[in-house]
């Protein structure tokens, strides 16, 4: 393996925390939050793929493909909900949606 696993993990970690930071910071826009989630998921996928290559096991790749399918369906559902929410309050700012307050 050309690239050492550590490098992959560091990159995945960076991606993950980048996504997470974006998620926490960019609350004013729901779509950007979805993008950030995608980035995080990609980081996870990268770990799976890297692990798969490191131990020569196909399970990781299988999971990566599984996650891809999952994210595509998730994004389609989530975007539909974003459209719905936008229609209700004319905004995509998540702080405005606090109906679940306990």
């Amino acid at each position: 393996m050309i690239v050492p696993l550590e490098h992959i993990l560091i990159l995945a970690g960076l991606l993950f925390f980048l996504g997470m930071g974006g998620l926490l910071a960019w609350r004013a826009n729901l779509i950007m939050m979805l993008v950030c989630i995608e980035v995080m998921l990609n980081a996870v996928m990268l770990v799976f793929v890297g692990g798969s290559a490191r131990w020569g096991n196909a399970d990781g790749q299988l999971f990566a493909i599984f996650i891809m399918a999952l994210t595509s369906s998730e994004v389609s559902l989530a975007l539909a909900m974003v459209v719905y929410l936008h229609r209700r309050k004319r905004t995509v700012d998540t702080d405005v949606f606090s109906e679940m307050k306990g």
């Binding site: 997470m20 998620l23 926490l24 609350r27 939050m33 702080d95 949606f97 606090s98 307050k101 306990g102």
Partner: protein
């Protein structure tokens, strides 16, 4: 005998229940007839019992309170004292019932009146005949309740209702002491039977006997309106006048004297108790007589005079002269009932005018009332040879015979009281019946509609006065002094009673001197009253008295005892009650609890901030959780 005794008690009770339950639906005459009939029936039974009476007996009818060693059955103890009182009560109450038929002839609520009057007689007879203290207490409280309900009989006026309430509460203060004495006696001796307790007098330690005696004295003071619990009786005059005659003159108020006499074998063993009883009686007699001198309400004069006369009886018990005390109790019942009933006639004739300064010259208008009233007044003032003279003198003689500085002082006080008694009695008589009508002094308010003399009194009201007048005047025959060569009837009758302490009889010479002194004092009082209220000085004196002065205000208000109690007890009580409610209960306990509840709620709100419903909060929570987890894992790996 068992049957007759049961009937004595049951007849008034049944009459009362009958009137209470059915009286409103039945014709008036029937209710009245039954109310009077049962009392006279009880009197007949009492006479039958007297004829069969051979000596003290105990009769048990059934169980009442029975738990382990506490046994208080429904039992009667009949001895000379209780039999004598039973006869007096049924007779006087019978007359007063008859009188009430006339007095209450316009009262629509007669059923309640007669029901209460009958139940009162029942309770009074239970009190007198009870064989154990809890049963006596039943009668004791029963008469208290009837007194309360009858004082406030015309309940619409707040004054009447309040007077009833005052009587109930003040007497209950005394009752509490009596109650404590009962349970204490039970604790010491394991018995509540009167005869057993009296038999144990010598076995109980002296200190406890003293304490018990003081407690019983407080109880008696409450019921018999002795100092310091005397304040309720003058106000009790708010009730209908026959009620005042029956309850607040003849029977109930003497219950305290009866109690002390009944338990005397037990408590008389303590010198301190006897001194306390005598002192209470003597001081009360003087206090009330002085107050009576400046009263202007006819019934209040009589009320204070009742307090004063009962003071004499208590004094008599205190010096161990039970016969004399009982003698005075009986004659007093006759002449005081008479005075009240006559006063009731006057008040009815004048349309409920009770202020003596607005009466006068009634002698010609109401001769049928004047002569019995005069008879009663003579007895009350201790005019020589009347019943009141002999009975009062018997007490004073016994006090004199005791000797010692305390009793000498009490004797002097008693004589002074006798002087005051004669004075206020004749003041009342002269102002009300003599002089001119329509006195020239200014009225505080204009004469009311229909004011004037209404001489058509029902004959039943005036006729009932005569038997009482005769009994009062001739009451001395009951117990003539021994120097006349006869043995006193009452002395002989009561003399056989077990446990009675007999004072040494006075020598005939001393007794005669004492009676001469008493007669002089009485006549002096009469003369003093006559010089002020009859003849030329009358108008000036009346005007001066009406104007009032510091001293006379002081006496008029019963030495301002009411004000003192208001200051000492009533006001603080109300304040503390309010404080306990608003301060302790609502602010204190509930406030603390509400504070605790608020604190809990606030603590609950702290974690609730994490569920703000905003996505961001959840995300931060998630991120924070992940960080913590990662840190933990890192710590596990490195550490």
């Amino acid at each position: 005998m068992k049957l007759y005794l049961a009937l004595i008690l049951l007849l008034p009770l049944l009459g009362g229940l009958f009137n209470a339950l059915l009286g409103r639906m039945l014709p008036r005459r029937l209710g009245e007839a039954i109310a009077c009939g049962v009392i006279w029936g009880a009197f007949v039974c009492a006479v039958l019992v007297l004829l069969q009476f051979t000596g003290p007996t105990k009769i048990e009818y059934g169980s009442w309170l029975a738990a382990f060693d506490l046994q208080a059955p429904i039992a009667i103890y009949l001895d000379q004292l209780s039999l004598g009182l039973t006869l007096m009560i049924t007779f006087v109450c019978g007359l007063i019932h008859l009188y009430s038929v006339g007095y209450m002839r316009e009262e629509p609520d007669f059923a309640r009146y007669f029901a209460l009057l009958n139940i009162f007689v029942f309770a009074m007879l239970v009190l007198v005949l009870a064989g154990n203290l809890p049963l006596l207490y039943l009668g004791w409280e029963g008469v208290g309740f009837c007194s309360y309900a009858l004082i406030g009989f015309w309940y619409r006026e707040e004054k009447n209702a309040t007077a009833g309430r005052k009587a109930f509460i003040v007497t209950r203060v005394g009752d509490t002491a009596f109650g404590i004495a009962i349970v204490w006696m039970f604790q010491i001796s394991g018995s509540v039977s009167i005869t057993q307790l009296n038999a144990m007098g010598s076995l109980i330690p002296a200190g406890i006997v003293t304490a018990l005696g003081i407690l019983l004295l407080i109880g008696a003071a409450g019921k018999s309106a002795q100092l310091p619990l005397s304040v309720w009786l003058p106000d009790a005059m708010a009730g209908p006048t026959p009620v005042s005659a029956q309850i607040h003159a003849a029977t109930m108020v003497t219950a305290g004297v009866y109690l002390l006499a009944r338990m005397f074998p037990l408590i008389g063993g303590s010198e301190a108790v006897r001194a306390a009883i005598a002192l209470t009686g003597g001081v009360t007699a003087f206090y009330a007589a002085a107050s009576a001198c400046r009263q202007r309400d006819l019934k209040r004069i009589l009320a204070y005079s009742t307090i004063s006369q009962i003071g004499y009886m208590v004094l008599g018990v205190g010096v161990g002269a039970l016969t004399a005390a009982t003698f005075h109790l009986l004659t007093h019942a006759f002449f005081k009932a008479l005075l009240f009933l006559a006063a009731g006639c006057v008040i009815t004739a004048l349309h409920h005018q009770q202020d003596i300064f607005r009466m006068g010259g009634l002698k010609e208008r109401l001769p049928a009332v004047y002569w019995p009233f005069l008879a009663g007044a003579l007895c009350l003032a201790g005019f020589p040879l009347t019943g009141g003279f002999f009975s009062k003198d018997a007490i004073l003689g016994a006090v004199f015979e005791r000797g010692g500085p305390l009793y000498a002082g009490l004797f002097a006080l008693g004589l002074l009281t006798a002087l005051l008694t004669a004075f206020y009695t004749f003041r009342m008589l002269l102002v009300v019946f003599h002089g001119e009508e329509n006195l020239p002094h200014p009225h505080p308010d204009p004469p009311r509609e229909g004011e004037g003399i209404h001489s058509a009194l029902p004959s039943v009201m005036t006729v009932t006065l005569w038997p009482l007048a005769l009994l009062g005047l001739l009451g001395g025959i009951l117990n003539l002094p021994s120097y006349l060569g006869v043995h006193g009837l009452l002395d002989g009758f009561l003399g056989d009673m077990p446990g009675l302490m007999r004072p040494e009889p006075l020598s005939h010479g001393t007794e005669m001197i004492l009676q001469l002194v008493a007669a002089t004092v009485s006549l002096a009082g009469l003369g003093l009253a006559r010089s002020r209220y009859a003849g030329s000085r009358r108008a000036a004196v009346l005007a001066a008295e009406e104007a009032g002065s510091k001293l006379s205000d002081f006496l008029l208000n019963g030495w301002r005892l009411d004000d003192l109690y208001r200051l000492l007890f009533i006001r603080p009580f109300e304040r503390i009650a309010r404080l306990c409610w608003k301060g302790v209960d609502e602010a204190g306990i509930d406030g603390a609890l509400d504070g605790l509840a608020r604190l809990t709620a606030r603590l609950g709100r702290l974690p609730a901030a994490w569920s703000s419903g905003r996505v961001a909060t959840s995300l931060f929570g998630l991120a924070g959780g992940v960080c913590v987890l990662l840190a933990y894992v890192a710590w596990l790996i490195t550490g």
